[in-house]
């Protein structure tokens, strides 16, 4: 049956077909829809969970694979940093049931902090990695990955990038689903990592790399074709662009598609390099394939020039495109390429993403901003929709580093600037992910900071996934809601206030009080994300009362508000959520209607 599937959906359906038994993960663009799709098509025979963070998710998949089940764990590239501790040891311990680690890379980056390349992580951890070029290949690869994992006794990494994860393709998904019964956990010293075991396993793993390289030289995911003195090697989405460009230019070159960047298919690479004068390597992020080819050419004394990122033939940062690959191949093949100028407008207003109209984070940021006006304060931020609070006119995110870092960074700044007020903003899901140890640290070390938990009852940025505070699971069960206030109090935070950020005056008063507390104080701003409820009737502006002062627009920057030619404010009814923040700051009482 032909279905239109997003790359992430294809990976999920491939895993279901392969008989996956346990799936865990933590949401992160561009990986999120994989686990959601497994849950959507789950007939009840697969255990699916959003874990509290990637480290825990990795350990859950590992435990399941120790027990002979096929397991999959999903995350984005920076999530693998969090999960790297279990990952590195896991390659020594190995698995019994097939374990696939899906790590989505984000060249650009489009929705990430870094442009790190998971293929390096695979090499670092001595784990095989598969790099799909299309959604349909991702569908095939994930199924193969389970088989390979069981054959090698190692977890296998599948590394799709954004343009694979979020591209759709018509894919034939017919094929039987494997039904596998896990053998269960068998007690054995092999599951306990000790230095002696690690040493022995290290020798075996190194041998295994060589045999996996030979296996990959025969794999259908790698191929050499075409003739000529010029060669083009490519991996991931760059291979797709390369195929399209080579077709459009009508040139004859020898091509090398690399679907398994590590262990590198050396024998096949040698046959590709044989007799070539020069090679252009096309790959996003880092020069993994390029370096592997340079090493092979060096080892075998081949006189072939290898061009790519190191030679400056392709960009060292950012995502590739048809145009970038077209330019690189044209230059390489000695073809002229005239780029047509576009005689249209070049200056257009920019349109960065913004907090939605009605977003409770806007009210929370605004309350803190107002309360701290005139005082020296630093606002450390974290990862989530609320990172957008850095934009004008709020300007309320002074730092953003990684998941959970708001709380640690605030403590470091406070130690250097004892007179400055420090506010650490963190979302509910991020608080559970890696925020809690930072609060424990602040209490233990008696650091005066205010932790501001922005509790919108969901993991909003990645598309509204449940988390431990929501009491909902991916198996459709109701569970104990982990209470953020109770957690903070149990840790030893003596001053904790829960407040609705739209209760503007009280919110401002609470912030002022918190800032004066010795030790750690915490405010939990509670109000649901607008995606969680039906849109109420929009607010309206009384044009007679509006004095065109523009204060509302200048202060809060709500995307549902705009000033007309006379300077009076107008509200777009299809996007206004009637949060009431604008009406609570309007000095003339001009904004009203159905205020919540």
């Amino acid at each position: 049956m032909i279905k239109l599937l997003m790359g992430n959906e294809a990976i999920a359906l491939g895993a279901i077909n392969a008989g996956v038994h346990v799936v865990s993960g933590y949401p992160g663009t561009p990986s999120t829809e994989i686990l959601e799709t497994v849950a959507k098509y789950n007939d009840g025979s697969i255990y699916v969970e959003w874990s509290v963070n990637e480290k825990t998710a990795m350990e859950i998949a590992a435990g399941a694979a120790y027990s002979g089940a096929r397991a999959m764990v999903t995350m984005k590239q920076v999530g693998l940093n969090v999960a790297s501790d279990p990952l590195m040891s896991l390659s020594y311990i190995g698995v019994k049931g097939g374990m696939v680690i899906v790590v989505a890379d984000d060249p650009g980056p489009i929705s990430s902090q870094t442009e790190q390349d998971t293929r390096h992580f695979a090499k670092f951890a001595n784990l095989p990695v598969l790099d799909p070029s299309t959604p349909e290949e991702a569908y095939e690869m994930v199924q193969y990955a389970f088989d390979l994992s069981e054959q090698a006794g190692l977890p296998v990494i599948l590394r799709p990038s954004t343009r694979i994860c979020h591209a759709c393709s018509s894919i034939d998904v017919s094929g039987d689903r494997k039904r596998l019964a896990p053998s269960g956990f068998e007690k054995d010293p092999r599951w306990v990592i000790f230095p002696q075991l690690s040493y022995r396993r290290h020798i075996e793993i190194e041998k295994l790399q060589a045999s996996l390289s030979r296996t990959f030289s025969k794999s259908g995911f790698n191929s050499v074709s075409g003739e000529g003195k010029l060669g083009i090697a490519a991996s991931g989405i760059a291979w797709a662009y390369a195929c399209d460009v080579i077709r459009d230019l009508g040139i004859n070159v020898r091509t090398f598609k690399v679907g398994t960047p590590y262990p590198f298919p050396e024998e096949l690479a040698e046959s590709f390099l044989e007799g070539l004068d020069s090679v252009l390597v096309l790959e996003e992020l880092d020069s993994v394939v390029e370096e592997a080819l340079i090493a092979i050419a060096g080892t075998h004394g081949l006189k072939v020039r290898i061009l790519g990122k190191k030679s400056g033939n392709t960009p060292c940062a950012g995502e590739f495109s048809y145009e970038i690959v077209h330019r690189a191949i044209s230059d390489f093949a000695g073809l002229s390429h005239d780029e047509k100028p576009y005689p249209y407008m070049s200056r257009l207003p920019s349109r960065p993403p913004v907090l939605c109209a009605g977003c409770p984070h806007r009210a929370s940021f605004y309350a803190v901003k107002k309360a701290m006006r005139g005082q020296k304060a630093v606002f450390t931020g974290d990862i989530g929709c609320y990172t957008l609070g850095n934009a004008k006119p709020l300007n309320m995110v002074d730092t953003c580093l990684c998941m959970g870092a708001s709380i640690g960074v605030a403590q470091g700044i406070k130690r250097v600037e004892p007179e400055t007020k420090l506010f650490a903003f963190i979302g509910d899901s991020t608080f559970f992910h890696t925020g809690i140890p930072g609060v424990v640290n602040a209490v233990y070390n008696q650091t005066d900071i205010t932790v501001v938990v922005l509790d919108n009852r969901t993991t909003a940025m990645t598309g509204h996934q449940p988390h431990p505070g929501t009491g909902k699971t991916m198996m459709g069960n109701e569970s104990e809601k982990v209470d953020i206030e109770a957690v903070l109090k149990a840790i030893g935070v003596k001053w904790v206030r829960k407040i609705n950020p739209f209760d503007h005056e009280n919110a401002v008063a609470a912030v002022r009080e918190a800032a004066g507390i010795k030790g750690v104080s915490a405010i939990i701003f509670e109000a649901p994300c607008i995606a969680l409820f039906r849109k109420p009737e929009a607010l309206t502006v009384d044009a007679d009362k509006c004095r065109a002062c523009g204060l509302c627009v200048r202060e809060i920057g709500c995307p549902a508000m705009a000033l007309d030619e006379s300077g009076k404010v107008g509200i777009e009814p299809s996007t206004c959520y009637a949060c009431g923040l604008c009406s609570s700051i309007c000095p003339f009482g001009a904004i009203g209607g159905n205020a919540s």
Binding site: I110, R351, C356, K392
Partner: protein, 198 residues
């Protein structure tokens, strides 16, 4: 038949649904299709594009510069921002709706709508401009402006997919309780485009 389509707009306007509808209709007609979307941070009111490539010739989902046979612009400025992807004989369906970026509301940047309309008219003679927001409002919900625009693309003949396939796609992709509104929105766009073109 190879057709490369670009949908350009502002996050929240329903571009992803629009690309799903077109892709589903293409599959109904037996064509291979690829789509590429912007999902994630930029969805929050930022500039977004969806690519739909019908015909299966290309491996990559992104429509290159100068290759789009059709651009469906959901918002004026976002259409201009992506005009470089339009092919020499490419066609345009444009929603004349203006959504001011916050940078414009704050007075940091200017939104020159007249210059934008001129830029589009210079790009191609095959252009249909309509106020899909109002048309959708009359059909029952301004949220259905995306479907009005698909209707206009089909009704003008710029989108080489049949009316029946697109209506069937609406039935397959959109929840049943919204069928009536969306079918009405589709028909309004379809008829209006035919009328404008004459």
């Amino acid at each position: 038949m190879k057709t490369d389509i670009l949908i350009a707009g502002v996050g929240g306007q329903g571009q992803i649904l629009a690309s799903r509808l077109i892709a589903t209709a293409a599959i109904i007609e037996g064509c291979h299709v690829r789509t590429g979307e912007t999902i994630g941070m930029s969805q929050r009111g930022g500039s977004v594009v969806s690519h739909v490539r019908i015909g299966g010739e290309s491996m990559a989902a992104t429509v290159p510069f100068g290759k789009a046979d059709l651009i469906i612009g959901f918002e004026l400025c976002e259409t201009v921002r992506n005009i470089k992807r339009l092919s020499e004989n490419g066609r345009l369906i444009v929603n004349t709706q203006i959504i001011n970026p916050v940078t414009v509301s704050l007075g940091i940047e200017k939104y020159d709508a007249a210059a934008m309309r001129d830029a589009l008219k210079k790009a191609t003679d095959s252009i249909i401009m309509l106020d899909a927001y109002s048309v959708a409002g009359q059909a029952g919900s301004v949220k259905a402006a995306n479907v009005v625009l698909i209707g206009a693309a089909a009704g003008s003949g710029y989108l080489p997919l049949s009316r029946d396939s697109l209506v069937e796609a609406i039935r397959r992709v959109i929840p049943q309780r919204f069928h009536e509104i969306n079918c009405k929105a589709f028909e309004s766009g379809y008829r209006l485009a035919g009328y404008i073109k004459c």
